[in-house]
Symmetry: C2
């Protein structure tokens, strides 16, 4: 069955949506990433997603199924490819993975965005610049240059919000225990977003979260590490 992933795209096809990365890692987990067709969507291309009934990436088209939202995509893949490695490790794991993804959405992303958002302008096509700047400056209530100037003072808040992951990843290699799950990919997506756009250093080298990120960069034969981005 032909699979197409509509994913956010910057310059030269660079893919840095954290939610796109959740979907991409979920496809890789199921052994489907290499053969999936990618349809790059720039910020100004959102009309191309009208067929999905909404305007946000990622959207997965799997045969006759159109699935938007990275959580729904993970649930679709888990059900449609139940014979492949599980993304959740069962119903309880699915419930918990959803909370962990919501933790990343509501508590990690808001502390990461101000550290990297100003760098996105260097990675997107000229046609997207005005939209990106005005939408983000409205959201943050200040100029991108001001947000960038304040980021050194905000990195501690980002590192502090990772405390739950740090505590766990000192004792187990992945959030899912011995092997990664969708909960790992939910947090990893945040780091792939950063890696794709910003040279800003997020983690100390001796942080257990750093070691975990290294392991996931090497996963799936190093697929994430081969993605163009800033070495971190």
């Amino acid at each position: 069955m032909a699979i197409t992933l509509f994913d956010l795209s910057g310059k030269a096809g660079r893919r840095f949506s954290p939610f796109g990365w959740r979907a991409r890692m979920a496809l890789a987990h199921k052994g489907l990433e290499r053969d999936a067709r990618v349809e790059p969507i720039r910020f100004s291309d959102k009309a191309k997603l009208a067929f999905s009934g909404q305007q946000l990436v990622p959207v997965l088209v799997d045969g006759d199924d159109v699935v938007s939202d990275s959580w729904a995509i993970a649930c679709h893949l888990e059900a449609a490819y139940a014979d492949r490695p599980s993304l959740f490790g069962g119903d309880a794991g699915r419930g918990m993975a959803r909370l962990i993804a919501a933790w990343v959405d509501t508590q990690v992303h808001p502390r990461l965005a101000p550290l990297i958002v100003a760098d996105v302008v260097d990675q997107i096509e000229p046609i997207d610049l005005d939209y990106f700047r005005s939408s983000r400056e409205t959201r943050f209530g200040k100029r991108l240059e001001e947000i960038r100037a304040e980021r050194e003072g905000r990195v501690d808040a980002f590192r502090e919000v990772l405390a739950p992951a740090r505590r766990v990843l000192g004792d187990q290699p992945y959030i899912g225990g011995a092997a990664p799950t969708f909960a790992d990919y939910a947090l990893f997506g945040a780091f792939m977003w950063a890696r794709g756009v910003s040279p800003f250093r997020l983690l100390a080298g001796d942080d257990p979260v750093h070691g975990w990120r290294e392991r996931l960069l090497d996963s799936f034969d190093g697929m994430p590490r081969r993605e163009p981005g800033h070495p971190v």
Copy 2:
């Protein structure tokens, strides 16, 4: 096999340790709570835990096994009573439950403590009052009365940190999906701590977290709801 749980105790045996509640709910999940002997430990009784090699409740003694720390207790029960309902739903769920418990420890408890800590003095024996006041006033850097006076201004930060649970519990009855897991008990322990000591209202009635707490208060034939405490 005889099981004893050493749990923190206030006046009239009132049990309000959040970690004690994690252990107690885990015992109930395994069908072992009713028959477990409880050894109440006041703040000033910590010498009674010397046999465990440390000074913190809860401590579980299960036959020849002495297990301290609520996470280790859950893992012990899961392994020793593998034929009973699972606390984690598998290895992936175990890994994720540990992160969720660490989220409660590092991000929920610090925002809950200032809302309720001053009320603990009404629930503990006179012999524990000096230790409790001096240790908590040192930790917070102010008098208990000052902490209490500021709490109305802090309740929004507590509700905000629950955003991941709120988002998930609007769509599924428990963090573990259709049935509660140790991840649910980790967060529920925070609310049983509050319920045992403080009349302060933590949640709006239409908050999905409120509905989830009601379901867990009714669990195990209403065992948590029968525990003396403030109706919330």
